[in-house]
């Protein structure tokens, strides 16, 4: 099976506190630690496990700049067969639709049975996979938390409300967006990354992909972010400023008052 995984490099929220910059028009990006978007990493692991069961190749791709090469190299170290960086000045500041358009052009240059994305990235939009499927006219399933390969189709379950799962059959080729927790992504150490340091990662731009520049980039974006802000909160929590011991006493007192202790 030929599998493509579309991924993105994002600020790692487990390593960073996200704050506004001084101008208030972006988050403070100095000294942010970036890593592969967490659901994307599960998607890569799932692709590798499927390949190891049924054969084939795993290609990882991202749309970005040269800094984004680090996540591709990380996924090569995990075991991906090849990696491609899509980068072109005319692609900068594309909206979700623009990114899906670029990926659609890339997919059409190759042949893939299965295309995976993470369910959502740092902006919480959960949109590129579904858009890409519609552009390719492939079937789509989101929030996928298990995949079984059958003949010419897959059996996938989706995460729905209340911890329940929705079981579906889906024809190939298709696009799936992968939810976290579907597997246990393998560990990648510095040694593994060094071993793939010399693997070439081709860079493709608008001309290689035959991308219509009218469809991508900031001019084509129908949805544009204007600013970042911290919303004026409601009353917010009453913060306890005592010592650890005093705070613990206070918590127990409050719990008793609120009927929480029998």
């Amino acid at each position: 099976m030929e599998i493509l995984v579309c991924e993105r490099r994002v600020p790692d929220t487990s390593e960073n506190e996200i704050e506004l910059n001084a101008a208030g028009n972006d988050i403070e990006r100095d000294e942010l630690v970036y890593s592969v978007n967490e659901p994307d990493n599960y998607a890569v692991e799932e692709a590798l496990q499927i390949r190891d069961r049924v054969g084939g190749n795993v290609t990882v791709v991202t749309v970005g700049g040269e800094d984004d090469e680090e996540i591709l190299r990380r996924e090569l170290a995990m075991g991906a067969n090849q990696a491609v960086l899509i980068s072109d000045e005319s692609f900068f500041d594309s909206d979700g639709r623009g990114i899906a358009t670029i990926l659609k052009d890339f997919v059409r240059k190759g042949h893939y049975d299965l295309i995976l994305t993470g369910v959502q990235a740092d902006d919480g939009a959960a949109q590129v996979g579904g858009m890409l499927a519609a552009m390719l006219d492939y079937p789509f399933a989101s929030l996928v938390n298990s995949i079984e390969v059958e003949d010419g189709k897959l059996k996938v379950s989706r995460e729905i409300e209340g911890g329940n799962r929705e079981l579906n059959e889906i024809d190939l080729p298709c696009v799936l967006s992968i939810q976290t927790g579907i597997n246990e992504p393998r560990y990648v150490g510095m040694r593994g990354i060094r071993q793939v340091a010399s693997v070439p990662i081709p860079i493709l731009g608008a001309s290689e992909l035959s991308t219509d520049h009218v469809m991508v980039g900031v001019a084509a974006a129908r949805v544009k972010r204007i600013d970042y802000f911290i919303p004026a909160s409601g009353k917010g929590a009453e913060i306890l400023h005592g010592s650890r011991e005093e705070n613990a006493d206070k918590v127990l007192e409050l719990m008793a008052a609120k009927g929480g202790l029998k």
């Binding site: 996200i18 519609a134 789509f140 929030l143 995460e159 911890g163 976290t180 927790g181 929590a237 127990l252």
Partner: protein
């Protein structure tokens, strides 16, 4: 203003709470809007759902088709595309179904797409200004959406307060004949109901709930010891389940359990909206997090800026003292 449609979710004839929230959201786009409800399904349940909307919506478009008995996004999309006019605005609740349906629908309608809107600030020069959140709610953004060729907007459940009275005296219009044969390359098989698990967190008055801040599996015992001292149960947020530190049955949130305790102790939980969606009944919420900017502090009643790995053992000792429980 182009016509606004509200996609109505329903189950067994009962319309989802989101229907009235979509009506409120439509009025934020246009104060005089009379959005059209659009309801898909089949049989008597569909009619019951449609009829229950007549006090609130002036027009209810019904799409009846046996293939739509279960809301399979691929089939629903085909149904909607058969009836929706060009350049319309489609509102729908942001949930596991809209994540399936909405992005592709926007492409097929050639419309802009804004997912998970939490606010709508109105229209300026043909574009709509909305509020979204990023980084799990740590920051908000304003976005501008060009609606010149229509828009698909999913709306966060609970973000738009339903208006009080409505008196639409609406009519149900049957649009079923506009929809041809529906065929799917993705077929619904069945719903697998979550396993009950060893502890039912929905039945406890006090929950000690842990998040990513617990850092590793071995530290889960800190929460278990506290819960035992308090006579409480341990629940958790999604990252703890993803890491396989606790069973799925312990997860609170939109993809986990909905709980209604009296006291909720959020320990090392950042406070993403998907987690908060699972906490109902307005419990007394105490948050412990070492990040003073964690969104959980905006919704908590009381906050303690501290490392849960240090604070929980202290609280456990105090609770044992107070309740006269000996340490094991």
């Amino acid at each position: 203003m182009d016509r606004i449609f509200a996609y109505i979710a329903h189950r067994a004839g009962v319309v989802d709470d989101s229907a009235m929230e979509l009506l409120a959201a439509a009025r934020k786009i246009d104060a005089n809007a009379f959005p059209t409800a659009i309801v898909t399904g089949c049989g008597a349940d569909l009619d019951t759902a449609c009829n229950s909307l007549t006090p609130s919506f002036s027009e209810i478009w019904k799409i009846a088709n046996d293939a739509l008995a279960y809301p399979n996004a691929e089939l629903v999309r085909q149904g909607l595309l058969s009836v929706l006019p060009r350049n319309c605005i489609v509102l729908l609740p942001h949930d596991h179904f809209s994540i399936d349906l909405a992005p592709g629908l926007s492409i097929k309608l050639d419309a802009a797409f804004v997912p998970d809107a939490v606010g709508i600030d109105g229209v300026e020069a043909g574009s709509l200004k909305l509020v979204r959140q990023e980084f799990g709610g740590q920051v908000s953004t304003h976005v501008r959406c060009d609606m010149s060729s229509g828009a698909v907007i999913s709306v966060r459940p609970g973000a738009f307060k339903p208006e009080g009275k409505t008196a639409a005296a609406g009519t149900v219009i049957d649009k079923s004949s506009a929809v041809g044969a529906l065929t799917a390359r993705r077929r619904y098989i069945e719903t697998i109901v979550a396993e009950a698990g060893d502890v039912d967190i929905t039945r406890h008055n006090v929950l000690v709930s842990i998040g990513r801040g617990i850092q590793e599996k071995d530290n889960v015992s800190l929460a278990e010891e506290l819960a035992e001292a308090l006579g409480a149960a341990v629940s958790c947020s999604r990252p703890v389940v993803d890491a396989k530190w606790m069973e799925k049955s312990r997860q609170v949130g939109s993809s986990g359990k909905t709980v209604k305790p009296k006291v909720y102790l959020a320990c090392g939980i950042s406070g993403a909206s998907q987690h908060l969606a699972g906490i109902k009944g307005n419990p007394f919420l105490i948050a412990i997090n070492k990040n003073p900017k964690a969104p959980i502090f905006q919704v908590a009643d009381v906050g303690i800026v501290d490392d849960v790995l240090e604070f929980l053992p202290e609280l456990t000792n105090k609770a044992r003292e107070m309740r006269g429980v000996a340490a094991k």
